[in-house]
Amino acid sequence: MDGIHDLGGKPGHGEVVVEKDEPAFHSRWEAAVFAMEAAGIAAGVWTNVDRFRHAIERIDPIAYATHGYYGRWLGGIENLLVEAGVVTRESIDARMEKMGGSLQDLVASRPNLVPDPVGDEPAGRGSSRVVNRKPKFATGDLVMTSRKAKSGHTRLPAYARGKTGAVVLTHDAWVYPDSNAHGQGEDPQYLYTVQFTGSELWGAGDENIKVSLDLFEPYLSAVDGRKLS
């Protein structure tokens, strides 16, 4: 999804701000949001991390940019809880007003009116799965990434679309986020770490920069069967 979360290479964000002696949580509510995520998983409200990540991507873009990390989580959790029918938007609004909050404040969540199907239970622990086919690529292969923008969840960032790189690490088949996030099944796919030169990604510039990403097989196509020189 070409959302505001897809930040790689986006201009204008200024200098990194480092906080001295940063605590694990800045306020109790941040820890509460952290605990809600685990509680939602434990209660079976959301069944996988891909669905959770996509729920965060779907919050209001201005809230994404301004509410901080746990504010973004809160928006994602609210999306999932409302879509699952565990709480209603109205009940949160009412409770918030009772506690002195103002509904003029930007609310991050944007629950879908027609939520994605819940999907099956995970077929195993973690993301790695055994599949009955061989990987298409091997270490050293040159590959080209897909040019296509997807409207749903994906782990191919915009900055790495339509680019040529080399496979530097191979992995097992893993649950495919593009399917799993939408309750359309795990559809496991082989995963590769693909390395790109900075100039391939950003045009001429510093030749001494490499960027690698972990990319699923469906994102990749072979480049004339060539190997990395």
């Binding site: 200024g14 480092v18 906080e19 949580f25 909050g101 973690g126 790695s128 992995h171």
Partner: protein, 192 residues
């Protein structure tokens, strides 16, 4: 821990917390447990122990670079499970740094919760495009002929940097060495 009373997200979070507690989906104890776990038990000290051992034990270092996931099982760390850990080594020729541009993937089990800057748009947008400038702004001025490798954690693989051991620390014990290793050096935005 201060309470940022004016953050609207704080009040909304508290409203949702009270609703979930009423529904039995959340307990105040679970929240306290999260605070204690990540403030006291899970943090960058885990990663520092891994680095210190790699510095003094060449066999462990080899296992760590070949299969980080198995190698850290030689410790018994609590916290977020890591599906696959890849440890990348800084050398005279290569400097590594880690990011997650799409969200904020981070190796919790070895480094604890990520710092705010790791999750903010500034680092996520810029480190893949102009790493040398960003690292310099953060205090790490690397020579132009040193190759910089950025690892964008876009699936469940997690990355940790094995920093170079500082010369002045040669001969110290594993425990002493672990004290020297900072979180930022294991993310790759600092040298030791």
């Amino acid at each position: 821990m201060t309470d940022h009373d004016r953050e609207p997200q704080a009040i909304r979070a508290e409203a949702l917390e009270s609703l979930l507690i009423e529904k039995g989906l959340l307990t105040a104890d679970a929240i306290d447990e999260v605070i204690v776990r990540y403030s006291e038990r899970v943090g960058p000290m885990n990663g520092a122990r891994v680095v210190a051992r790699a510095w003094i034990d060449p066999d462990f270092k080899q296992r760590l670079l070949e299969d980080g996931t198995s190698a850290i099982n030689e410790f018994s760390f609590e916290g977020g499970r890591i599906e696959k850990l890849v440890v990348v080594e800084n050398t005279e020729k290569v400097h590594n740094a880690v990011v997650c541009t799409l969200c904020s993937c981070y190796p919790w089990a070895v480094l604890g919760l990520p710092p705010r800057w790791y999750k903010d748009p500034q680092y996520r947008s810029r480190i893949v495009r102009e790493p040398r400038t960003v690292l310099k702004e953060m205090g790490l001025d690397l020579p132009a002929d040193l190759e910089i490798r950025i690892w964008d954690s876009s699936a469940e693989v997690r990355y940790m940097v094995l920093p170079q051991q500082p010369e002045h620390s040669l001969g110290k014990s594993e425990q002493e060495l672990a004290q020297l290793v900072t979180r930022n050096s294991m993310v790759g935005v600092e040298s030791l």
